[in-house]
């Protein structure tokens, strides 16, 4: 428990963490609200983007700790390798909580978005739960990257998942082929969780099922890689 607190403190202290997960989605939310002329269409996407960023940011410290030998040091403690990865995933999930909250607060106070209390809770809560596959993706990137490549892989992943998942531009405004790619992205379905709350006629079960599928697949990949490493 104390270990997790210290891990979380490190994550929040790292330069970039808060800028990425809260600053970027917050700023883009305000910008796009102006472009689209309303604050509600873009709300689920930007809340989801922050969650996605928080998940992928799990990767760089894993790579750094692997390269520097910190993982070897931890192997001299009772913490198992699986426990280490669970800790990293937990921290990723905790860091993923502020972004939907901040974007929701911005929506309420700057864009006059009005939702029921239960809708706010559902929007924040569902989007946050959707962080799981992304935290797992962050771990997988952490297991596979080198210290030289991890920065690029993470940033490209953040942008590609956001763009192709229709977070910046809704998929139905884009060419058809673009949409086909988008529907394969977990980021599209993460956004759908929030859209289900604020927009009519959305499929929550489908989005949840696909994200769960992604989580299982990524979890299996992480486990496979972990067994090969150790």
């Amino acid at each position: 428990m104390r270990y997790l607190v210290l891990e979380l403190r490190r994550a929040l202290r790292r330069p970039g963490t808060l800028l990425f997960v809260v600053g970027f989605p917050g700023a883009f939310y305000l910008l796009e609200s102006v472009i689209f002329g309303n604050g509600i269409d873009i709300l689920p996407a930007m809340a989801a983007w922050g969650v996605l960023l928080a998940g992928l940011l799990v990767a760089p410290p894993i790579v750094a700790e692997r390269a520097a030998g910190w993982q070897r040091q931890l192997r001299l403690t009772p913490l198992s390798g699986a426990g280490y990865l669970r800790g990293k995933a937990t921290v990723g999930l905790l860091v993923a909580l502020p972004p939907p909250i901040v974007v929701a607060l911005l929506a309420h106070f700057t864009q006059d978005v009005r939702l029921d209390a239960s809708q706010w809770v559902a929007l924040v809560g569902l989007t946050w739960l959707g962080a799981l596959p992304f935290a797992l993706l962050g771990i997988l990137i952490g297991q596979l990257s080198t210290p030289e490549s991890v920065q690029q892989v993470t940033i490209v992943g953040m942008l590609a998942l956001a763009i192709f998942g229709g977070m910046f531009m809704p998929l139905d405004t884009l060419p058809n082929w673009f949409g086909q790619v988008g529907y394969a992205m977990p980021s599209y379905w993460l956004t759908e969780l929030g859209r289900w709350v604020v927009l009519p006629d959305r499929e929550i079960m489908l989005a949840g099922g696909i994200l769960l599928g992604w989580a299982l697949a990524l979890g299996a990949a992480v486990t496979w890689r972990f067994r090969r490493d150790s």
């Binding site: 270990y3 202290r13 520097a68 009772p78």
Partner: protein, 295 residues
């Protein structure tokens, strides 16, 4: 009583390199053992095997009668690894606290910091430390589980002489409480000063081991190097001689009493020439210990 470290027939190969080639170790609780040997002799690999960081191809390791993994689980083993890292984004106190939080019965973080002599660095980020300070922080990390056995892989390599002395004095506090310490080093002086027993590694094998007194005696000796035309002459029988090595016609004699050896050499082999007398280094001690065992 269980041995602190008991290794039998350890072998470990990395690709074409046989890093550890049949190592046996028996270290009693409370012993302070120096592991000496050149780079690539298998010291670090052996340390990894004893810690369970890698698995031997053959052979077996027991730490206090347990597997390395069990001993680590119970916090009975601490280690300062050569590349044991510190976290860039945490303070010294936080790093030690993180490791402490994972152990079942750690000592208080402040005490580990104090024992390692880094209490004043607790709030410092690890990126702002000198090499010697980092090494002492690693020592605090190793101490915090309050281990019965401590393994140190070249603990003083990044230290200046003053820090080195401070480090060994904190180490002495630790060993006075009956703990077992195994440390790898290049420095014969460190072994002489702090170890009870010395183990010499070369090419993945333990080529000699013995109590430190014997090593000290050898280390106080001299090496006489001379061209002796009667190559293969029985120089080992000279007074004070502890071993002879031939390089063509040149003989290298390790001697406890170089004056007596040299007088006898010249008396019996008047044609001996190009004579040099030097102090012994690690190599000569190795050599003397091994050649004594063969006799």
């Amino acid at each position: 009583m269980e041995l602190a470290v008991h290794a039998t027939g350890l072998r470990k190969r990395f690709g074409p390199v046989q890093a550890v080639d049949g190592v046996d170790l028996a270290i009693a609780p409370g012993e302070v053992v120096a592991v000496l040997g050149p780079n690539g002799a298998g010291k670090s690999t052996t340390v990894d095997l004893v810690l369970g960081l890698s698995v031997p191809d053959e052979g077996r390791v027991r730490v206090f009668g347990q597997t390395p993994a069990q001993a680590v689980q119970e916090g009975r083993v601490g280690a300062v690894l050569q590349e044991g890292a510190l976290l860039d984004d945490a303070t010294v106190g936080e790093i030690v606290a993180m490791v402490a939080s994972l152990h079942r019965n750690p000592m208080p973080v402040a005490e580990a910091l104090r024992r390692a002599g880094v209490a004043d660095l607790a709030t410092r980020r690890s990126t702002r430390l000198s090499g010697g300070q980092k090494q002492r922080v690693r020592f605090a990390v190793a101490l915090v589980c309050d281990p019965e056995l401590l393994l140190l892989d070249e603990p003083t390599s990044a230290m200046d002489p003053v820090t080195r002395r401070a480090f060994w004095s904190s180490m002495r506090d630790f060993t006075e409480r009956g703990r077992t310490v195994v440390f790898a080093t290049h420095h014969l002086e460190e072994a002489e000063e702090y170890a009870d027993t010395v183990v010499f590694f070369r090419a993945g094998k333990v080529i000699a081991n013995g109590p430190i007194d014997q090593v000290r005696k050898l280390a106080s000796g001299r090496v006489i190097s001379a061209v002796v035309p009667l190559s293969g002459a029985a120089l080992g029988a000279l007074p004070g001689s502890a071993g002879v090595e031939w390089f063509g016609e040149r003989a290298r004699i390790v001697s406890h009493d170089s004056d007596a050896t040299l007088r006898a050499l010249l008396a019996r082999f008047p044609k001996a020439h190009d004579i040099e007398v030097t102090g012994v280094g690690l190599d000569e001690v190795f050599f003397a210990l091994t050649s004594q065992e063969e006799r």
